[in-house]
């Protein structure tokens, strides 16, 4: 992977056309990107693409196997599974992106701040990071959800997003901090301080842009994590609420009850989760190799 990035023609492509350069250097990553884009398009245009209303009950179609009318079958309420998977992409990508964005941004800022000030601030922030890191991810998210409950606003559960972003923060803070330490050592940071700029100005304008590469890598990687976490929480009945379509939710409760009679109820939503996470991982990995061959998690 990183070997090919050193090739001359690829480097040339990379300068002239970053998108094509990425595709040539990272075919696997490009494949991941395509899957992500298809999912995003499905999510955005769900009401056009999806054949049915995701929440409408149709007793006549209860537990229908895959057919012309219902390509992926129907669930116990006769709701079309393809439709629910398409709308589920909306849920997964929204929650995945927002949680990862929130977690990586807040965590990243903490990391940069920690690196910039060093000394006592660094020590305190790192202790705090240690504390939050000591909670297993799912356990932390589960307790947070159980504690704060659900607050859906325009169909998006803000509390769920918060619960998923909290375990991401310390992890992002850790990685960004180590990248920012290198930036901190650059002479221009000290120059900026001497120039009388405020701390926040230096952090946001001088340091943050220089850790953008690891930030983007983390952002993609944690979207995958967030999607998985949302699916797990929904599976446990603590995530998205019925009748909202969400992949993890489609696997929970009733569907496990219909294992044998209607395997399509568990097969397709699980495939959707796996494919989405797979695509983000593939893309994230390649992005890492491409943006910064030296950077390793």
């Amino acid at each position: 992977m990183s070997a090919s990035t050193r090739d001359g023609p690829v480097m040339a492509w990379r300068r002239r056309n970053p998108v094509l350069g990425f595709i040539m250097a990272q075919p696997l990553g490009a494949a991941g990107l395509v899957v992500i884009l298809v999912m995003a398009a499905a999510a955005i245009f769900a009401n056009v693409v999806a054949p049915y209303d995701p929440e409408a009950i149709d007793f006549l179609a209860m537990l229908s196997p895959p057919s012309m009318e219902h390509p992926l079958g129907a669930d116990a309420f006769g709701r079309d599974i393809l439709t629910r998977i398409i709308y589920g992409a909306r849920t997964a990508l929204t929650i995945g992106f927002l949680s990862s964005f929130l977690g990586c941004t807040i965590g990243g800022l903490l990391g940069v701040t920690s690196a910039y000030f060093g000394g006592r601030v660094d020590l305190i922030l790192q202790r705090f990071v240690d504390i939050v890191l000591s909670f297993p991810i799912i356990v932390l998210a589960l307790v947070v959800v159980a504690v704060v409950g659900h607050r859906p606003i325009m169909g998006i559960d803000l509390n769920l997003i918060a619960a998923i972003s909290i375990p991401i923060m310390p992890r992002a803070a850790r990685v960004i901090r180590s990248a920012a330490l290198a930036v901190r050592a650059m002479p221009y940071v000290d120059a900026a301080r001497a120039g009388g700029y405020t701390h926040s100005h230096i952090i946001l304008r001088h340091m943050a842009p220089n850790v953008l590469a690891p930030y983007l890598i983390l952002l993609t990687a944690y979207i995958a994590q967030a999607i998985l976490l949302e699916a797990s929480l929904s599976f446990l009945g603590l995530g998205v609420s019925e009748p909202k379509p969400a992949w993890g939710l489609m696997l929970s409760g009733d569907s496990s009850n219909f294992y044998q009679e209607a395997p399509w109820m568990i097969l397709f939503p699980g495939l959707a989760i796996s494919l989405a996470v797979f695509a983000f991982n593939l893309f994230g990995d390649s992005l890492r190799d491409w943006l910064d061959p030296k950077f390793r998690t």
């Binding site: 929440e55 659900h150 603590l238 609420s241 019925e242 009679e261």
Partner: protein, 538 residues
């Protein structure tokens, strides 16, 4: 009663549950036939599943089956329901009894040969101590059904084998209180030493002695040789294994357990029957358990009866019953008392209630009209629900029904504690609730719907003195015909106001291994659990 334990044929279900998978339709043995064929056989250990861990061992303090299904075999009660003949009442520790003509006193003669598991005899003192604990619990003791003992004025014990209950007023449901499986008889001596003794210890006079309880794993009992009914129990012992409902299906299918006594979903039933074939035994009944849609009548716009009625009108109960009963434990359409019970309205009577008419087009039009009149055409609100089945099924169904009259509803699925907390603080708009009792007696059931200042169990916050008046009147009416008429009046009044309305009643589907004999099916999962008559065929 038994006519409600139906034996449906399997073909309809098979057609529904096994589309396209090519399972060959089994000729279905499953359903209940005469039980107890042949003379009972002694010996063997009954293994069965219980879905939850018990929060206490004290039957007086709790109302969950998680305690009943483990603890019942260890205790006796004053009276009990006759096996295979619900709701007829027979004696348990009482050999015979008489009621005074004015129904203000009841005298019980006890069996003389009853011993507790520690060898001490059970006397009238023990009955009195247990009922005193129930009606006036000492400091630190919980009595879960306190109101049902309200009318008992005094308990006297003229001799060791005679107990007299003196009443303050006529209580039409007192026989159910005496037969209640929750009102177990504890040892007076043990209670004197520690009023909370039963919370952590098991020492009764029932057919089985307590052996052990391993948290999260199992509860075991063994035959009590000193049990006062000759020849009983038949079993050497029992083992109640803790497992989740989905695991039960596999365990029963794999012959790792022999029974589960609460109930399965139709689909779980089919899976077990398919696995066990000839060895499965299915028994079905309606269930004294119903799903309720409760509005917060203190919150706008649910303080407006038109809005509440409109939302109730929009629910296609008959269609829901027919279809949801195929995928969940939701079952029949009913009013406030169990459909099919002697107190219940006929389907024709029901169809006159708002939301029970069969013409859904008309219902929805009327619902829309009511909302328009109330000025809430584009109503949106949040429905509070539990995150359990079949609550979630009911919630999904309701939201879809309301979507069809243009009402948008968010579904909020809460953990149990948050669900209770919201009820307590009145911090909800509408909620999916349920109510269960161990008997069909109207007093036991209607209490859920009287004014909330009289019954905390009514969480709608409503105050309706007319309902209270009808409730009190039926509670002291002994003549069943007159009482039934009062129940009808109560229902009519309630549906006009719709503070809280039934959604659907549950169906009880018990599936067990055919080897289990002598057990009695009933419309409640709280009775017939002492296992004294149960035996295992070879």
């Amino acid at each position: 009663m038994t006519d409600h334990i139906n034996s449906r044929n399997f073909s309809r279900r098979t057609a529904l549950a096994l589309p396209a998978l090519g399972f060959s339709a089994l000729s279905l043995p499953g359903h209940a036939r005469a039980q107890g064929d042949g003379p009972p056989r002694r010996g063997g250990t009954l293994t069965y599943a219980v879905a939850a861990e018990p929060p206490t061992y004290d039957l007086h303090a709790t109302s969950t089956f998680a305690v009943m299904h483990r603890v019942a075999p260890h205790y006796s009660t004053l009276l009990r329901y006759e096996a295979h003949n619900y709701p007829n009442v027979v004696g348990d520790v009482a050999e015979s009894w008489t009621a005074a003509d004015d129904r203000l006193s009841y005298t019980f003669k006890l069996h003389s040969n009853i011993r507790f598991h520690d060898g001490t005899p059970l006397t009238s003192e023990d009955v009195k101590a247990s009922y005193d604990r129930l009606r006036a619990p000492p400091e630190g003791v919980v009595s879960n059904r306190l109101p049902s003992f309200q009318q008992i004025a005094a308990i006297e014990t003229p001799d060791p084998l005679t107990v007299v209950f003196r009443m303050k007023a006529v209580d039409a449901s007192i026989m159910d209180t005496f037969s209640s499986p929750w009102n177990s008889i504890f040892s007076a001596a043990r209670l004197r030493a520690d009023p909370n003794f039963p919370a952590r210890n098991v020492m009764g006079s029932g057919p089985f002695r307590f052996v052990e309880h391993v948290a999260g794993s199992h509860w075991a009992g063994e035959r009590f040789d000193g049990y006062f009914r000759d020849g009983h129990p038949y079993l050497d012992g029992f083992r109640a294994i803790t497992m989740s409902p989905s695991a039960m299906v596999n365990a029963l299918s794999g012959r790792q357990i022999m029974a589960e006594f609460r109930g399965f979903t139709p689909n779980e039933r089919d899976r077990i029957v398919r696995a066990l074939g000839e060895d499965s035994l299915v028994q079905e009944s309606s269930w004294m358990l119903h799903m309720i849609l409760t509005f917060n009548t203190k919150q706008k716009p649910f303080d407006d009866a038109r809005v509440r009625r409109a939302l109730s009108l929009a629910i296609d109960r008959w269609g829901g019953s027919q279809n949801l009963s195929r995928i969940s434990q939701l079952g029949q359409v009913g009013g406030l008392v169990r459909p099919g019970s002697s107190w219940s309205a006929t389907p024709e009577e029901m169809q006159k209630w708002p939301g029970y008419g069969r013409d859904m087009v008309a219902n929805r039009a009327e619902a829309k009209r009511l909302l328009r009149e109330a000025g809430h055409e584009n109503l949106t609100f949040t429905l509070l629900d539990r995150n359990h089945q079949p609550y979630v099924t009911a919630g999904i169904f309701l939201i879809d029904q309301w979507r069809q009259i243009g009402v948008r509803v968010e579904h909020q699925q809460a953990e149990l504690s948050a669900w209770y907390a919201a009820q307590g603080s009145g911090n909800f708009s509408a909620l999916v609730d349920s109510f269960t009792q161990f008997s069909d007696d109207p007093t036991n059931v209607l209490v859920k719907y009287i004014s909330s200042d009289r019954a905390e169990i009514n969480v709608s916050g409503s105050t309706d003195r007319e309902l209270d008046r009808l409730f009190d009147q039926q509670a002291s009416t002994v003549d069943p015909v007159a009482r039934k008429a009062l129940v009808r009046q109560f229902e009519t009044r309630l549906f006009d106001e719709s503070y809280a309305v039934p959604i659907l009643w549950w169906q009880r589907i018990v599936v067990m291994n055919r080897r289990v004999r002598g057990w009695t099916m009933a419309p409640t999962h709280m009775i017939y659990q002492d296992l004294g008559d149960v035996w295992l065929s070879a």
